[in-house]
């Protein structure tokens, strides 16, 4: 390969690396989401008319932490935490508390099982 093409490709490589860095740095800027539940308050998901108020709630934990949240519901249903496979009934106007260790990594849904309505997106980072 001659030096001209080498230089051409070095140029392309620099550009691509620059783009990669840009993407990476941009991601770091918005990377403040990991400490969403570090404040010590127990997150409460409020269900109104069978739907989560404010949309599907994102909860993020690291592996090994304790996952603790409360569901306040105005409808009677079963709250199913998928992946961890924990199911708890909640009555209309009642509330139910979840408290379990984050042992499985990944992204999981909790839903109102009978309504097939997702209420929580649970992320467990390694």
């Amino acid at each position: 390969m001659n030096s001209k093409t080498t230089r051409l490709f070095a140029g392309i490589a620099v550009i691509v690396v620059a783009i990669v860095l840009l993407v990476v740095l941009k991601k770091d800027d918005s990377g403040s989401e990991t400490s969403s539940n570090a404040s010590g308050k127990v997150p409460t998901v409020v269900i109104k008319n069978g739907k989560p108020v404010g949309g599907i709630r994102d909860l993020t934990y690291n592996k090994g932490e304790r996952i603790h949240f409360v569901v306040d519901s105005d409808v009677s249903d079963e709250v199913h935490m998928h992946g961890y496979d924990i199911m708890k009934d909640v009555g209309a106007g009642g509330s139910v508390s979840f408290d379990f260790p984050a042992t499985i990594e990944g992204v999981f849904e909790a839903e109102l099982e009978n309504r097939k309505e997702q209420i929580i997106e649970l992320t467990v980072n390694p």
């Binding site: 690396v17 499985i104 097939k116």
Partner: protein, 465 residues
């Protein structure tokens, strides 16, 4: 307007975490370094154009290719197809408790590409429609005393029916269920019915054009799985099993028209499935809301939105490939555009396979635990059957750590990239007599491969984020 996507979780109770930024950066850097190395350490004469096929021991072929073995495999295939249709239509509507969905869209749809690469064209003996077609054809010959007559297959169509069919399968799997971004959104009932309709269509086409002809060109699963089998070490020639130079068979695969469309459809549909729950998520939501506000029903809006994005994926992947081909055509001594277009299609097969591994590896590992435990013991999901005593087993999601999944994903993309480059460079040395021009033409394919691999990495980095 307060619109909520009609969500329904289907098969998967767990989704992959996005790959972390540092791994994304490392992956992309390795891809670049590897690509440079490929340019400087290139060979000058084609190495993969000849298969150098050698038969395995006669005993192995005699057993594995015997009429009895073929009949047994065919019978297993027909049984599993029939059972899937039955389970889908008659079993529970809970997608994760019904044998049919996992068997069709995970075990078969993802398992056959994997085992085809490792073992060769394993789908062929198990192909239920081929088995039925051969039995019916044989019976016809015995009764009528002559071979069944067939129409000539329009050669121009080539593998286009399979390419379109491939998109249709993924459309059915991901879009039709209109479940808003879950892996398999289809209801078991629809899956069973679709399998039944596809069986009737396939058998009709086989009757019209002949069993083997249709398997070679139009039968989606034969063409799709057969494509991946071209990468591997094992192949059948003249009724005998043999070993060949890995990757070499792929160099002769894309000779039929529409072959490039099959590979592009594969990459595009996997991209779409990955992007809909990450990169395209907000775009899909916006389009969906816009369509829903025009008065379309929610389901129709979501289906239409997903269809548009899937079509865009196909167009986008095709466009990148065509830019590469057009670029190569500008290099002195280039063969005609048409020859280039088909001549480099096979170099995307490793990329297509890498995309499959990257996007479905964890789904396959987790869902196969279900397949071989509770879905086997209680295939209809009745909650009262327990054939093998494993009906109450669950999926162990701790089997794979997030890190293990990330490394497999990135590793698959990088390896696919290297193999794609290898095949492209090899083909260039065959097409351009002059080594320097061959190397020059490959700047274009290198750009194509880097684009696909970095796009794949990007999709992983924003998956489910």
């Amino acid at each position: 307007m307060n619109l909520v996507l009609p969500l329904a979780h289907a098969l998967v109770a767990r989704k992959d975490l996005p790959i972390p930024a540092w791994l994304f950066a490392w992956g992309a850097s390795i891809v670049l370094i590897v690509s440079f190395f490929a340019l400087s350490a290139a060979w000058r004469k084609p190495r993969f154009e000849e298969e150098r096929w050698r038969p395995l021991g006669a005993g192995v072929s005699a057993v594995l290719m015997s009429m009895g073995a073929q009949a047994l495999c065919g019978a297993i295939g027909v049984f599993l197809l029939g059972f899937s249709i039955y389970a889908g239509i008659d079993g529970t509507e809970a997608p994760d408790r019904n044998f049919a969905l996992t068997f069709i869209f995970v075990t078969a749809w993802l398992g056959f590409p994997l085992f085809s690469v490792i073992l060769g064209d394993v789908f062929r003996p198990f192909n239920p429609w081929r088995a039925i077609g051969r039995v019916v054809g044989g019976a016809f010959s015995a009764v009528a005393g002559q071979r069944p007559a067939h129409l000539d297959y329009p050669e121009k169509l080539g593998r286009w029916p399979a390419a379109i069919g491939l998109l249709a399968v993924v459309w059915l799997e991901v879009v039709y269920g209109a479940s808003g971004g879950v892996a398999v959104g289809l209801s078991p009932d629809s899956a069973g019915l679709a399998a039944l309709i596809y069986s009737l269509y396939t058998l009709a086409m086989m009757a019209v054009f002949g069993v083997e002809k249709w398997c070679e060109t139009g039968e989606i699963f034969s063409v799709y799985f057969g494509m991946f089998s071209q990468l591997g070490l094992f192949g059948v020639e003249e009724g005998r099993l043999g070993r060949r130079l890995p990757l070499s068979a792929a160099t002769h695969w894309a000779t039929l028209p529409g072959s490039a469309a099959v590979v592009i459809a594969s990459i595009a549909s996997t991209s779409f499935d990955g992007a809909q729950e990450g990169a395209f998520k907000s775009g899909i939501l916006q389009t969906f809301e816009w369509l829903a506000e025009t008065g379309l029903s929610l389901t129709a809006s979501l289906r239409l939105t997903d269809t548009i994005f899937m079509a865009l994926c196909f167009a986008g992947v095709g466009l990148v490939y065509m830019i590469g081909v057009r670029g190569m055509a500008t290099v002195r001594g280039a063969p005609p555009l048409k020859k280039l277009r088909t001549g480099f299609a096979h170099t995307l097969i490793p990329i297509a396979f890498a995309y499959l591994v990257a996007h479905y590896f964890s789904l396959f590992v987790f869902q196969e635990q279900a397949q071989f435990t509770y879905l086997l013991s209680d295939p209809l999901g009745t909650a009262t059957t327990d054939l093998f005593g494993t009906a109450s087993s669950g999926i162990d999601f701790k089997l794979l750590s997030a890190n293990a999944i990330w490394y497999v994903q990135v590793g698959a993309l990088v390896i696919g990239h290297v193999i794609g480059l290898t095949l492209a460079h090899d083909r260039a040395t065959a097409y351009w007599g002059d080594y320097r021009q061959a190397a020059r033409s490959q700047y274009w394919m290198l750009a194509v491969m880097v684009a696909f691999t970095c796009f794949g990495l990007y999709l992983l980095s924003v998956a489910n984020a």
